[in-house]
Amino acid sequence: MAKLHSETRALFRGLAFVSPWLVGFFAFTLVPIAMSLYYSFCDYTLLQPPLFKGLNNYRLLAHDRVFWKVVLNTTIYALMALPLGMIVALGVAMLLNLKIRGLSIYRTIIFLPSLVPTIASAVLWLWLFNSKLGLINTALRVIGVTNPPGWLTDVHWAMPALVFMSVWGIGNTVIIYLAGLQDVPRELYEAANIDGATTLRKIWHVTLPLISPVIFFNLIMGIIGTLQVFAVPYVMTQGGPARSTYFYTMYLYDNAFSYLKMGYADAMAWIQLLIILALTALAAWSGKRWVHYQGS
């Protein structure tokens, strides 16, 4: 009896402490999620009462070629930006981990771009990519490229330009990798040296397995981030030219606040949520094969 009593007290005490989050979770997460699920089955203009239409929004989405266009664009962007960002970040982190002098200065400079607010960096790169007056094409002309691409105004180069730009802001990821790399015990490398392993073999057999949890973390965060890309193309290209940089969240935003099709937008949001959950689950499932947790 006394045990039960103390357990109940512990429960109340615990709930009291986590209550700020718990209340917020119900009010600002759970209720909106439930509402958005309901609206996704409705025609809802926000100005008029919702009209229940069953699966109509999902059916319309399946036949909406702009929807498929943004799905394709977002997939292409993710497939380019995610691996590129992760590999470059890992490479830079490995360089930084060579215990060389000036590490903290290099690290600071590489981290600096990820401090820049998204909008500010979009504005900045808009200027850098300017096909006539921008830094990038000026540099390209200096090294002898006579006809550099129009970047953001060129239907083939706009997407690569955004990917290229995303690599500039990987400082965050570099720091996370670097911390992981510094946790790798030095004895393991020494042992590998004795075995006469080459650098590549050491990376493959020692480094990568040991930092696989960090890679896994960055992969999940990267999936979530790249699939939601919004602010940068919203400012830089507005989805153009010819919708070549029109991404999922942008179309969702336009449907919600420009066309006032909240139900349609919510259906898109739910599809996005399910895709992210599925990809995360897939990553977690595959992770069982390649992620090695030390100790546990």
Partner: protein, 467 residues
Amino acid sequence: MSSFSTRILSGIKRLVVVALIASGLGLLAFGPRAGEELPKDCVIVDYWEKWTGDEEAGMHQIVDDFNTTVGRKEHIYVRYLSTSSIEQKTLVAIAAGTPPDVAGLYNQDIPQYGALDSLQPLDDLAAEHGITAQMYKKVFWDECHYDGHLYGLVSSAYDVALYYNTHIFRQSASALEARGLDPQRAPRTIAELDQYAQALDRFDPSGRITLAGYLPMEPGWYLNYTCIWFGGSWWNNAEHKFTFTDPGVVNSFKWIQSYSDRLGPTAVNDFRSGFGTIDSPQNAFLTPSVAMVQQGTFFAHFIHRQNPSMDGHWAAAPFPSALPNLRDVTYCNCDVLVIPRGARHQKEAFEFIAFVNRQDEMEKLANLHCKISPLAKVSEGFLAHSNNPYIRVFDRLAASPNAHPTEPIPILPEVNDELNDFEQQLQLQQVSPEEGLRQVQVRLQQKYDQFMEDQRQRRKQHGQTAF
């Protein structure tokens, strides 16, 4: 590092922290604030408007006129609030239940807003104030209506014509005359416009464009309506059907495409990347990089503001049409004042709207904005003293039977986005006009039918007045 320099470093750090916090607190305590002193005994009418700069200053004069005359008598005070992306923000504010009393929208917002029951119909208030159709040029009165209801009144109106650089025309006189063209006047048909454009094009030794006679994409604001100069239209209002495959529409886009075909899409792109917006000295017509542009009445003001040395070196004429018997064609647009649903001071708001629509105030604002008057009656003084030396051309065009309004379609934002995409594809030569227009037709008709079907069902379920 010695402990001494560490101490200095941490001292600097502390100093920076203190400076940051102090400036932050200072800004919080003494920084600029939103809000102003408001008269106590008046009904405050909140008026959201899109304009900034000169346009805002112009409207401020009208607001002040109102506040010191009618407003003082009736105890109404209009507060002007400048708002960006007004069409979205107002819609969202209406949805949020916090709308302004008056919103300054674009005429093309009226169908969407009207269809979503988000505007107060003004038919009765207008009748009370004696405001009738006869007082307006027909095209503008039409643009204020959707589905038989009056939803707004005009604040500022313009129509579109051809601006041409007479200085360049004179310089290129021999080239023009060689083609049998008259350098003293503007082209009168589309075929002639093409001839003028080619005669005026200039290239540098490497083949790069340095001056284009005409570029449909510069500024490209009226591409959606270029079909009207080809005798076409993409909307059949009687049958509620899009008609994007109408020959006039197809031909207009074929003509637009002919320019990127002739000059090369990449060359045009490169050329245009150095152009500034309308309100900059780098504007293509001002530098000058383009000799002829399709622009609205207000453009004269921007020419004067950004490059006064061009005053007297340009002229305006009706934009030429493709068909011989089609004359004085123009596309008309206006800014409208509406009362959002749920606005708290509707009667007072309309007092202000009616005030702006008085002939004297309307002409005053039209002159300040360098636009035309939407009213049927135009005073000689207005025409004589307008800041646009070609105001008579514009005024005549707007009163012409071939003055064309924006199509009254409730899904216009989607129509515009879709056409914008199609035009970009066209310019990049990704799609043929026929195929592109066919896709646009199918997609938009389906969106429109769905929208109307949902609205019909909603009315059946919830009755006429929703919410």
